[in-house]
Amino acid sequence: MDYALQQLLNALAFGAEYSLVALGLAVVFSIMGLVNFAHGEIIGVSAYSVFLAAALGLTSPFVAVLLAVGIAALAAVVFERVAFRPVRYAPTTTGLLTAFGVSIVVQNLFMLLISPKPQSVSILNGLNQMWFFGPFAVSSLQVMELIVSGLTILALVLFLNRSTLGLAIRAASRDFATVRLMGIKANRVIATAFAISGALAGIAAVFILARRGSVSPDLGFGLVLKAFVACVIGGFGSLPGAAVGGMLLGFIEVGLLVALPQEYAGFRDALTYAIIVALLVYRPEGLLGQRIELGDKEI
């Protein structure tokens, strides 16, 4: 029973992290059709800024968390301004390849300017402790991951549903031209979307740092690949789809972790991806995606 509960918490925590990152991807994709491969590098920039701040003498974990989230939001906005604005109206493939290029540049800049080797960051290790509830030992990080992700998603839903800018973002994902006709600036909507996406990545970066205690150039890349897969099973561009897809991915991973014998543990990623590809055979448009027929105007 204890073991089952522990694994359930594991799955929820993994799933929450994937959901956060996948939501960041989906917010940007739903508005401007950009497949943001550089999302992982936003996580990277955020983590490296904490590493640098700690190296320069920052000791407060609270400030480090604020810094991580703030820098991530800023980095996302800067990426949009520098790299993605020139390809805003280009076909999806062009944007995708641009983002892929940005991702390569930033990863290699970490290598070039800091080090190809992982660097240790211990400032956030305090978040990762064992809490004891009677007979249960629970990782504080996992509980926090779950709670913070839940609150963040709630805040995002409230923002998108209650504020004017949120309404504009939701409207922009359906028909950008009309949103602009209503007097909303395109740049503002897109910058806000990127800032949200970056902040979500920053929260993920905090959890990654607390768990790994180190930074490396490819820190966010693998996570973002998984988040992409979560988006695809959820239905690309659908926000609820991203959240559900992320959770599903967490459960599949932990399920395989439990089910697979130790000697096959290395095949976990391969099997996770294989299961998801198999799901796509039955629902090519994703779990919550809608089938779009040729010529459909309204999505």
Partner: protein, 365 residues
Amino acid sequence: MTGSELSQAVEQMAAPAAAAQPGNAVLRSLIGGLVTALPVLAIGLLVLNFAPTYYTFLALGAFVNLIVVVGLQVFMGNSNIANLGHSAFVGLGAYGVAILSTPLAMKKLSIPNAPFGFATLELDPVSSALIALVVVGIVALVSGKVISRLSGVAATIVSLALLIIVHSVFLNWTDLFKGNQAFFGIPKVVGLPWMLVFAVLAIVAARLFKDSRWGLQLRASAQSPQAAAALGIDAKKLRLMSWVLSALICGLAGVLYAYFAGTISPKLFYFQMIFNTLAMLILGGMATVTGAVTGVIVLSVGLEFIRSIESGVTVAGIQMPQLLGLSGVALGVVIVLCMAFRPSGISGRHELDELLSLLFRHSAR
């Protein structure tokens, strides 16, 4: 851009002349492919006759990249869907021949516990290559069935998932693939002449596919799915077809790589190869086979130059520090700048022979 290309594609499809003389069109495309391959042939022959061994080795690597990029172009250029998983097929081709053709004495050292009797099997290089390509074809057919059904973005993500699946199998099925360690002792049977022959064949094959009715229909459906579907074009079938052809060409590149290098390891066929070849194709221009060739030539030379700086050069007597990651930054910058300022790459949308004939027509006037 899309509008003019679309009208051009429709014009070409409507042109009855091409349909009336199929033999003629194939011949033109064949000659076009050979013209496109001419620079490659010239460079290859120059290297073969004059270059020192070190440059021959570099050229062999560049030719493998060339074949990979041409293979990538077959899918990406025609279907306009980004493929980020093609190096999985390169790896499958390379490991296929490694497992089948490595001499038994070597296998005792490297994979003594290989399942299915592979530890006691040694085939000649040609049949190994054929079997490896059949395996690549089967994997491509199965993965292509999924990928051809998906929308563009989802297809790209699944191609990436395929890469990760294949890489993770290479790493973890240690009895068969030796895991993270290098797989050595593959017979080195391919030199520059054979490499050159296959590079030219790959270029011609890519060109023939592009100009064939399937290639034309696929390009049309990439530009306007609705219009193509209205004309009765089965885009899924065509995507599958180009996916499999692309995978076979990439697999061939892997086979050739294994046969010239003699040693392979999984990390060769992972993201680094994707970055390199993708940047080459984008820089050259993915719409044409000429673009693939141009990109490989320009970036191979450029990257070699950057790598010499990266490893620390001595400028005016001062030893510069190692700059690891410089070539990666350069590749990424090439992709980003190309996409922002010239998405059609260096060569644009005309093949070399088309450019030449345009040029002659202008000067004749």
